[in-house]
Structure formats: structure tokens, C-alpha cells
């Protein structure tokens, strides 16, 4: 019971904020039964997925200040584990999910141990390298379909199959990922007040000072890396069932790792809302701008320019991201 109280503890948030959150939650809950296009539906599903990726990244990158640019490798491990198990052994999603998560977390320990000897930019570069090496291995490994990738045979299942998470209608995927999103959200709400989060913030400020307060910086980072990994690989498994066509470029590419990190940075590192705000802005922007300017007007690439301009503008204005601006305004009001 104590733990439940902590998970739902939103003291410190202003009342109008909670009210707005409640309205937004209700809107997301009712969205699928309101009239909508399938395009907007898939956009929101992607928003939930990337929110979760960014929430995971935010634990190690935002709270801990370790700019990891290799999260896509864990996404890939989750997605490939689920796809391989489902294709070869017809394993239910709810079994392959924890298996994929365990593999990803185990891998995070293997690479985290040497990686966290490095700091700052060196860590970021090494994390990119680790992720790309794994991608190359998957590209050459015939067991996981090598560069052709994998395809989950949907004809084997009759929709809706909740056991294997195979649906022909997006509404089911929508609610599954919405539940994941809520679980992730409440977990982070607990996490941000936990001992580990405090220790991470101390490490982010200064590792020597953190060490003098009895914190083992390396172990704290490795533990947090495992948490981030669990988030990302879970959604990776979901990605496999949702997209059904798994290729290394879509799951393990560097652009995905950067995208995940950017969302948390843009929204605000080390906060509960940052990753959600970041995903809420960047995902629709990316999808809609691409649709309008790319496919309709033929202006291929302009979406990336606009995308980059927004990121530069926000980071020049307030390095702590959009949530940093919100907090600044709030502090000014209080003062």
C-alpha cells in the first residue's frame, strides 16, 4: 500500500496542472471511440511508444546526465527477441516480452560495465559504437533474418489475438500501448523521488562530490542503465507485434537512438514531463511535416530542416528544455 501511495504521489504539482493532466488522460482514453483518421491513430500510438523510449532514456540521460546514444540496440534486442520467438516457436507476446527484457538488461550490464568507465563525450561516442556493432552483427546473422529482416506471419493468428498481440485494428494496439504508457508514467513518478534518482542527480552535478557522500557512481549508473533498457526493450517487443516487419534499420539505427535522446532533451531532461512533451512535439511534427511537405509538395528533406531549427531554437533559449521554461516561469511567479 505504501508503494502505491508513492506511485500516485503528485504533491508538489500545482492543482491546475493535475486538472489538465486528468483532462488529457481522459481525452486519450476516449480518442479511439471518437471520430478520427487512421493516420492520427497511428501518430498517437507512435507518440506513446516514443514517450516510453524517452522516459527510459531520461533515467540515465536526464537524471544521471549520461548522454547515451545507443538506446536503439536495446529496442532491437526487444523487437528481435519477440519476433524470433513468435516466428519460430509461436511464443506468446507476454512470454517473449520478459525474455527480451532480460536479454536486453543482461546486455546492458555487459556493455555498461566497460562503458561507464568513460565520461562525457567519450561515453556518448562509445555508446554509439556499441549500438552500431550490435546492429552490424544482426545484419549478418541469419538466425535473425540478417539484412532481410523478419516478418511475423499474421495469417497464423485470428485477430484479435491478445496472447500474441496480433490485431488487424489499431484500436487494440492503441489501448495496449496506452496501458504501458500509464505504467511507465507512474513508475517514473515514483522513480524521480527515489534514493537512486537523488544519487543520480548528485552524480550529474559532480562525480567526486557524489563519491564523497558514499555513492558508488559506476554502480548507480549501471543500475539505472538497466532501468532504461527495460523501458526501451519492452516497447521494442511491442514494436515487433505492431509493425510486424522488423529490420535493423527501423529498430537499431543511429537515427532512432538520437531521436530518443533528442525528445528527452527538447522536453526537459530529468523531469517527469520532459520526455512526454518532447515526444508530443517531435512525433506529430515529424509525421505531419513529412506527410505535407514531403509526400504532397515534394519538398523532401524540408521536414528535417524545420525539425532541426526547432531544436536549435529551444536549446538556445533554455538548455533545460521546454519543461525548464515552464519551471522558470513557475519559480518567477512564486518569487
Amino acid at each position: 500500500m505504501e508503494i502505491l501511495k508513492k506511485i500516485f504521489d503528485f504533491s508538489g504539482s500545482p492543482r491546475y496542472g493535475l486538472f489538465a493532466t486528468g483532462i488529457a488522460g481522459l481525452a486519450f482514453l476516449l480518442f479511439p471511440i471518437l471520430p478520427h483518421s487512421s493516420f492520427s491513430m497511428s501518430t498517437i500510438i507512435q507518440f506513446f511508444m516514443f514517450s516510453l523510449y524517452a522516459m527510459g532514456w531520461n533515467t540515465i540521460g536526464g537524471f544521471g546526465g549520461q548522454v547515451d546514444l545507443g538506446q536503439a540496440q536495446f529496442l532491437g534486442i526487444g523487437a528481435y527477441t519477440t519476433a524470433v520467438m513468435m516466428i519460430r516457436w509461436n511464443t506468446p507476446f507476454w512470454v517473449s516480452l520478459p525474455v527480451g527484457m532480460s536479454l536486453a538488461v543482461a546486455w546492458s550490464f555487459v556493455i555498461g560495465y566497460p562503458l561507464f568507465r568513460l565520461r562525457g563525450h567519450y561515453f556518448a561516442i562509445a555508446s554509439i559504437a556499441a549500438s552500431l556493432v550490435l546492429k552490424d552483427i544482426f545484419d549478418a546473422w541469419s538466425f535473425v533474418g540478417a539484412s532481410r529482416g523478419l516478418e511475423i506471419p499474421t495469417t497464423r493468428y485470428s485477430s484479435p489475438d491478445f496472447l500474441h498481440l496480433i490485431f488487424t485494428q489499431d484500436i487494440y494496439y492503441y489501448y495496449v500501448i496506452f496501458v504501458f504508457f500509464l505504467l511507465g508514467f507512474f513508475f517514473i513518478n515514483w522513480f524521480r523521488r527515489s534514493r537512486l534518482a537523488f544519487q543520480l542527480r548528485a552524480i550529474k552535478s559532480n562525480e567526486e562530490a557524489a563519491g564523497s557522500l558514499g555513492i558508488n557512481p559506476r554502480w548507480a549508473k549501471i543500475k539505472t542503465y538497466a532501468i532504461a533498457t527495460a523501458f526501451v526493450s519492452t516497447v521494442g517487443s511491442f514494436h515487433a507485434c505492431y509493425i510486424k516487419n522488423i529490420e535493423t534499420d527501423d529498430t537499431m539505427g543511429l537515427d532512432i537512438s538520437i531521436m530518443i535522446a533528442l525528445m528527452a532533451m527538447l522536453g526537459g531532461m530529468g523531469s517527469l514531463w520532459g520526455p512526454i512533451i518532447g515526444a508530443g512535439i517531435l512525433i506529430p511534427l515529424k509525421i505531419y511535416i513529412k506527410e505535407w511537405l514531403g509526400a504532397r509538395a515534394g519538398l523532401v528533406g524540408l521536414d528535417l530542416v524545420i525539425y532541426a531549427a526547432i531544436i536549435m531554437f529551444i536549446s538556445a533559449l533554455e538548455p533545460r528544455g521546454i519543461w525548464g521554461i515552464v519551471e522558470k516561469v513557475r519559480r518567477r511567479k512564486l518569487a
Binding site: F198, R201, A202, K204, S205, N206, G211, S212, L213, G214
Partner: protein
């Protein structure tokens, strides 16, 4: 009982010998001052004791346990805490959160840590600053927060590195009283590195003097300032005379 024994400690950085063959003991409950000119190796000595630097040779024994070669977080967990010359921890942590990080060494519970932090804030007369970021505060308050954070880990031995540097005489008096208060109310032994001699004379019952990485003198404060070697290396004739005259009155 000796809480800390330092045995033949040496440390060099490339060709620069920062500490040579330093030995001393610290008795439980005492207040030891370390003085010496800039570059004498005082902070290096602290870093070696607290595990921030690996030691070249020699050993450190804390509460009868060999701590040579242990990492700084392991040493902190054994009950040896320190402050830094330039107060580093700040970032996006408020004053209270900073102190809570210290409290979290002994407890996993957030509510316990918060309650302990409130106690300490009150004790250090900085309760009104709880919600501020450390970087927003004047230096005297920053130093108080640094000390409060170090003490929040519940240490047996506290190393204070130039806690009075950059403070005006009023603030020095304030922090001197605070240290006295800590010593009277908590079972903690204190070693302080300090350039503000008034503070050393007022607080310490024993002083070690370092010069060029070597221990050149060790005695009670009144005798140390009469030591010709100390006067030559650090104090200078005028200060020593001044202080002796003051002491006579």
C-alpha cells in the same frame, strides 16, 4: 583512541612530489588543523586520505581498519566525510535535496531522509534557504550547505577543506561558532585545512604544518606559531609577533 593513523604517506604527480613521507595520528574527539603555504600539499593529503587519489606509498588506517586503496565512496560509507575547497555539488539540486543526498547514505526511505534533512537545516540555521539552488546563494551560505551535506552522512571523522576561504570576518566568526556547535553536539572528530589563522588558533588543539609536501612541525597552536621553521615557511615574522603579543594580553 586514535581514529585516524596516517603512515609514511607519499604521493607524487609526475615529477611533482605533493606529499612526502607524512605520518600523524588523530585522536578521537580532537580538532586538528593543517596549515601551510599554497601548494604545500594540504588538499592532496585530504584527497589521499579520503580515497580521491590513489596513494603511491604508505598507508591510512581509519578506526583500526586499513583504508588504503579503497574508493572514496567505500571510505565515506565507513564514516569519513569531507568538504571540497570549491563547493561542487549544485546542478539542479536544491539546498534541501543536497542534504538529502547525504542522508540517503544511511537510509533508503525518502521520508526519513527528508525529516533528517529538515533537522540539519534547522541546526545549521539555513532552513529559510531549503528551496533555493546552491548556485544562487552567497558563498557563506554555500559553505554551510557543504558542511551540512557532509555531516548528513553521519561521519565519525570530518575533513573540512578551507571552509572559511572567501568569507568576511563576521562570516568567519559565524562558521567558527558553527564548527564549535557541531563538535559539542555530535560525536565527530574534525580535521581542518585553513589559511584563516584566527580560526585555527581558536578551534584547534593541535596543528600540523606542511611545506613542500613535508610535515615540518606538529604541536599545539601556541607552540607552532613560535616555531622558527613555521615562521619562515608560512607565517612570516610580523604575523607571529603580532599574534604572540595578542596572546600575552
Amino acid at each position: 583512541m586514535d581514529i585516524l593513523k596516517v603512515r609514511n604517506l607519499s604521493k607524487s604527480f609526475g615529477g611533482l612530489q605533493a606529499n612526502r613521507d607524512i605520518s600523524f595520528d588523530v585522536t578521537e574527539g580532537e580538532m586538528l588543523g593543517i596549515i601551510g603555504p599554497n601548494g604545500a600539499g594540504k588538499t592532496t593529503l585530504f584527497n589521499c586520505i579520503a580515497g580521491a587519489h590513489p596513494i603511491d606509498s604508505g598507508g591510512v588506517i581509519f578506526q583500526g581498519k586499513e583504508i588504503t586503496g579503497l574508493k572514496s565512496h567505500s571510505i565515506a560509507q565507513l564514516g569519513l566525510s569531507r568538504t571540497f575547497q570549491i563547493y561542487l555539488a549544485s546542478g539542479d539540486l536544491s539546498v534541501k535535496e543536497n542534504i538529502m543526498v547525504g542522508c540517503f547514505m544511511k537510509t533508503r526511505s525518502r521520508s526519513v531522509a527528508a525529516a533528517e534533512a529538515d533537522e540539519i537545516l534547522k541546526d545549521f540555521q539555513i532552513a529559510h534557504l531549503a528551496g533555493h539552488f546552491v548556485s544562487e546563494l552567497p558563498i557563506a551560505s554555500q559553505k554551510r550547505v557543504a558542511m551540512a551535506t557532509a555531516l548528513a552522512t553521519g561521519p565519525k571523522l570530518l575533513l573540512l577543506d578551507e571552509i572559511a576561504a572567501g568569507l568576511n570576518p563576521n562570516e568567519v566568526e559565524g562558521i567558527t561558532n558553527l564548527i564549535r556547535h557541531i563538535r559539542e553536539n555530535m560525536a565527530v572528530t574534525i580535521i581542518l585545512i585553513e589559511h584563516v589563522m584566527e580560526m585555527v588558533m581558536n578551534l584547534c588543539n593541535r596543528v600540523i604544518v606542511l611545506d613542500y609536501g613535508k610535515k615540518i612541525s606538529e604541536d599545539d597552536p601556541r607552540s607552532v606559531i613560535k616555531d622558527p621553521a613555521v615562521i619562515k615557511a608560512y607565517l612570516g615574522e610580523r604575523y607571529a609577533r603580532q599574534y604572540l603579543e595578542q596572546a600575552k594580553k
